[in-house]
Subunit: 236 residues, 2 copies
């Protein structure tokens, strides 16, 4: 049964899906839906995902949106996925769900607010909003502190003290990796002090090599593009 | 094995858990953590839930926060829960996850922003913020329109066209019920035009009677209290 992934490699949750499929030998067709070209707002794409967001999947005639739900579905529907990504044990599974729920209202929300209002808004013809950017950074920083002090406090190198990564590690690390498009000084200010988080990013990268780097390879280009947009905006 | 629910009946996700347990014959001890008295910020409660939010549970020596994760855990760990609440079928389950993920960034976020900035802020000694309230109402209204046009478009009376409620119906309906604490004219403006949503609330209530009314019985009192706080604030 054919699996299509509707994704933009510049979108954090899209990258998590791409890396997950590759790392688990799940075959798929990658269908690019470029946010910068507003392809997610086309009537054709609304047939795939009425919410007009990436990522989404079509598996046979089954359509699904929301990246966490998709990761859980893929881990459940494809028999080759290693147990550690989404354990069957009801307690381990519950803890992974809890991290993913927390992610929605904390790391993801802060990160989105920060990146949109410090750069991405310009790509959509919108002005930057320093107050909203500061609010986003505050929540992003608090979320990184929580990951450092709470979710990574166990014995193992991954979230919840696990010895191998789960879908939650991949979802959260891909979100944090978006800081690669920020200015170096901003990235260092926000991320530099969280040593455990930095090590965990490396561990997650190593656990999914070479796919992690492959699907993050566009970020330096996006960073340069955003620098140009910001330079133009500051002249106006 | 003893189950403790740490809840505030004035919190939407807390009510969803309480109703779910009662409707499924799950025995529990209700431990009140009153948000209005800042009991969620005590050092003792941080031992139960370091995120300092309600609801949370302790089941034996297993601790869990995040209401969606808790609902899934209870539906999975207690054998008496009827299949329709959280179906084993991987496709049906994925669709329920997708609605719950969507809820985080849409209905829940809009509803929280609206209620906090039109009244609840006063209970925490904070001023009301009309701009944030308007943004909250906009997202809340858009979310209700999406539920009406998309999630309730199937043949059955419940979300995703189901003939019986799932944990997603309970989570979303309990969130919308918070409009009972708003002024009548505000509630009617926001909710009145969504006829399918209104019928679905009734259907969910009927499917969980008498517990639905039992755990919503404090809302009229909260509404009067908020009216008083708003009257005092407008005099200052």
């Amino acid at each position: 049964m054919e699996l299509k992934l509707y994704v933009d490699r510049l979108s954090q949750p899209s990258r998590a899906l791409l890396i997950f499929c590759k790392a688990n030998g799940i075959e798929f067709e990658e269908v690019s839906i470029l946010l910068g070209k507003l392809q997610h707002r086309s009537p054709e794409y609304a047939e795939i995902n009425p919410m007009k967001q990436v990522p989404a999947i079509v598996h046979g005639d089954f359509k699904l949106s929301e990246s966490h739900s998709i990761l859980i579905y893929l881990a459940s529907a494809f028999p080759g996925v290693a147990e550690h990504w989404y354990p069957a044990d009801v307690h381990k599974r519950a803890k992974i769900h809890s991290v993913l729920d927390w992610h929605h209202s904390n790391l993801r929300r802060g990160s989105l607010g920060y990146h949109f209002n410090t750069g991405i808004a310009l790509a959509f013809g919108r002005p930057l909003d320093p107050k909203a950017a500061a609010e986003g950074e505050k929540l992003l920083s608090a979320s990184l502190a929580t990951i450092e002090s709470l979710w990574l406090e166990g014995d193992g190198p991954f979230l919840l003290g696990n010895s191998q990564p789960s879908i939650a590690d991949l979802a959260l690390v891909c979100e944090i990796m978006q800081l690669e498009v920020a200015d170096e000084k901003d990235r260092d200010r926000i991320l530099g002090k969280h040593k455990k988080v930095l090590k965990w990013i490396e561990d997650t990268k190593n656990a999914t090599t070479p796919y992690f780097d492959e699907f993050h390879s566009l970020l330096p280009l996006a960073k340069e593009k955003l620098k140009e947009l910001k330079a133009q905006a500051s002249k106006q």
